[in-house]
């Protein structure tokens, strides 16, 4: 499992004056579901196309399964791609699309048919072989694109925003299916997406990219709970920032005073801020708790006032100002039966815990 499949070393690529990739270095393991996440224009699609062989890096190197890829064209690489537009050949049937890549292998007709049937079964499209490709729905096209790439048994499957064209319900269903499919075939998947939720639910590891560089590469849990920069913290989920002041720094303990929360001692791995910058304490909206009942108690409590709310059905998002803090915070609370929805102006007690704080 820990065998390396792709090794990227200082991959750099410019288009004219625009630097799309700025020294990207990463190792991707065999059998891993790996996501490239970032806002549009961050270089994630360029990186995917560079791995596929559609773009040649200006400098740096790409190794796939130990083989250097410089000068190797896309049609000779052990990678296959699912395009954002799916790129289903409109003048062919579903079976002709799926079997397209096997044309060069000159299989016997019955063997070709068997492999096409297998691939269609894998994406739950049995019996669709004779359909004209242009009659398919968006979700079906995507399955055809998947089958067409997987039938090649690539070492790496590249997916360029494959779910962005689908509606919400179908997208969530396909996220699950893609994940299951990846486990079943055991092929390394590299997914490009700008949807953080999609990346979090599907990936083994995620590389967050900003401006052509990988800002952080880690597991979904680690990225969410221990972001290394405010940019990353802000991009994945939402994060409240409160001003903080470092009081004392020891080997593995840091004592800080946080506006609105008070004095607290943090473990060393909770702090990853640049020493030159004014530090800020980050806390996720769901890790602040409104103590609705008089009898509710928390390890640490502070007081504040509601300034606004948005009701989402299952959740309510409160805007609140903690006493003594200059920034407002967002607190998300699950709506359970009997729990009131508070209005602006209500005084609240807020519970929190020291290990939910990160110092950035």
């Amino acid at each position: 499992m820990n065998e390396m499949m792709i090794k990227l070393t200082s991959v750099t690529k410019s288009f004219g004056t625009v630097t799309a990739l700025d020294g990207v270095t990463a190792d991707i393991q065999a059998g891993e579901f790996f996501s490239l996440l970032g806002p549009s224009g961050c270089g994630k699609t360029t990186l995917l196309r560079t791995i596929a062989g559609f773009e040649e890096p200006d400098s740096g190197s790409i190794f796939i399964d130990g083989q250097p890829m410089r000068g190797v064209e896309a049609n000779r690489r052990p990678t296959n791609m699912v395009f954002q537009s799916y790129a289903i050949f409109p003048h062919m049937s579903v079976a002709q699309n799926v079997g397209f890549g096997l044309r060069r292998r000159r299989l016997r007709p019955d063997e070709l048919q068997r492999q096409i049937d297998d691939a269609l079964r894998m994406v739950s499209l049995e019996g669709f072989g004779e359909r004209a490709a242009h009659t398919l729905s968006g979700g079906q096209r995507q399955r055809v694109a998947l089958a067409r790439a997987l039938i090649m048994r690539p070492k790496v499957l590249l997916l360029d925003e494959p779910l962005s064209a689908l509606d919400k319900k179908l997208r969530e269903q396909m996220q699950l299916e893609l994940r299951q499919l990846q486990r079943a075939v055991g092929i390394t998947f590299i997914l490009v997406t700008h949807d953080q939720e999609e990346a979090l639910t599907m990936s083994d590891r995620i590389a967050i990219m900003f401006e052509g560089q990988i800002a952080q590469l880690s597991t979904p849990q680690d990225l969410y709970m221990r972001p290394k920069s405010r940019q990353v913290a802000d991009f994945i989920g939402s994060m409240n920032f409160l001003r903080a002041e470092i009081l004392r720094r020891q080997a593995d303990r840091i004592e800080v005073r946080i506006e609105g929360l008070g004095k607290v001692e943090l473990a060393g791995d909770q702090a990853s801020h640049n020493a030159d910058d004014q530090p800020a304490a980050g806390v996720r909206p769901e890790l602040l708790t409104i103590l609705f009942d008089e009898t509710d108690r928390a390890a640490r409590e502070v007081e504040g006032e509601i300034t606004g709310r948005s009701y989402f059905g299952d959740m309510t998002y409160y805007e609140a100002r903690l006493d003594g803090a200059s920034n407002a915070v967002t607190i998300s609370m699950r709506n359970t039966s009997g729990r009131p929805v508070l209005d602006a102006g209500a005084r609240i007690r807020v519970g929190w815990e020291a290990d939910s704080i990160i110092l950035l």
Binding site: A52, N75, T79, M81, A87, P90, R103, R104, H134, R148
Partner: protein, 271 residues
């Protein structure tokens, strides 16, 4: 008020259509008229003018020349157009705009300039004027049209379709053959038809560059010097009219069938 505006609009449309098509309709009417003078009232029905055409050997060779020249022109300029349009839509290269501009210049160059300059060049190099020199001139003026039509076709073709084929192991050439060409086929057919039609009725270049053998427009022009032969020119015109209508309708039929087969939405087209 509203009714008023509609009726003025209707009148305008009628006058416009009359102006456009009435002269063309006179062609078949007088070609069946039993008189060598082209004037009303009609004197009787005859097929003599068509029969006369059937017997004129020089006409037959002119038609053969024109069709051959038009066919070769259509194929050559479409092939050149394919290369230029693919390069322009798929690659970035130095001086691209300038080069594409130069290819398009014959579109606005007066044909008489093209005709005279080609005549001078061909004679200077000591070549003899022949049907091939006409093909040369026609390819020059037809290629811009092919480039325009085919560029549109290439630009409408989703680039990731070609990339998908390469990704699945095909070479650039087999990708072109298996994916690009079938999908831009409506454009290719349109380019062939346009180039064919332009070449078929082109007069000035054909007139300057013709050697001993002439094309159909040049032949018709030579007939106009004999007033007695005028009705047979009209008969010839009638045949050409019918032929081009058939060509047009079948081209549109092929285009629509192509659209249905790939499920593309109907953008443009002739009707």
């Amino acid at each position: 008020m509203n009714r008023m505006r509609i009726s003025w609009l209707a009148l305008y449309v009628c006058v416009y259509l009359l102006f456009l098509y009435a002269p063309v309709l006179l062609l078949p009417i007088f070609s069946f008229n039993d008189s060598s003078i082209v004037a009303f009232p009609l004197s009787g029905f005859t097929l003599n003018w068509f029969a006369l055409l059937w017997q004129t050997e020089t006409l037959h060779s002119a038609v053969r020349n024109s069709i051959m020249i038009a066919a070769i022109t259509a194929i050559v300029s479409t092939m050149l157009g394919l290369c230029a349009a693919r390069a322009a839509s798929r690659y970035a290269f130095r001086m691209k705009r300038g080069i594409m501009g130069l290819i398009m210049v014959p579109l606005v160059l007066p044909e008489i300039v093209v005709g005279v300059s080609l005549l001078v060049v061909i004679l200077q190099f000591g070549f003899e004027l022949s049907l091939w020199s006409i093909v040369l001139g026609h390819v020059l003026i037809c290629t811009p049209f092919s480039v325009v039509v085919l560029s549109t076709a290439f630009n409408n073709l989703d680039r990731s379709l070609e990339e998908a084929a390469i990704d699945l192991g095909e070479t650039r050439w087999s990708t072109f053959r298996l994916i690009s060409l079938p999908l831009i086929m409506p454009g290719v057919i349109a380019s062939l038809l346009i180039a064919f039609t332009i070449s078929l009725d082109e007069f000035i270049i054909a007139f300057f560059l013709a050697g001993t053998e002439v094309t159909l427009p040049v032949y018709i022009w030579s007939l106009l010097r004999f007033p007695a032969r005028l009705p047979s020119v009209l008969a010839l015109g009638t045949i050409l009219l019918a032929a081009s209508l058939i060509l047009l309708v079948s081209a549109e039929f092929i285009r629509r069938r192509g659209l249905r087969r790939t499920g593309a939405t109907d953008r443009g087209g002739l009707f």
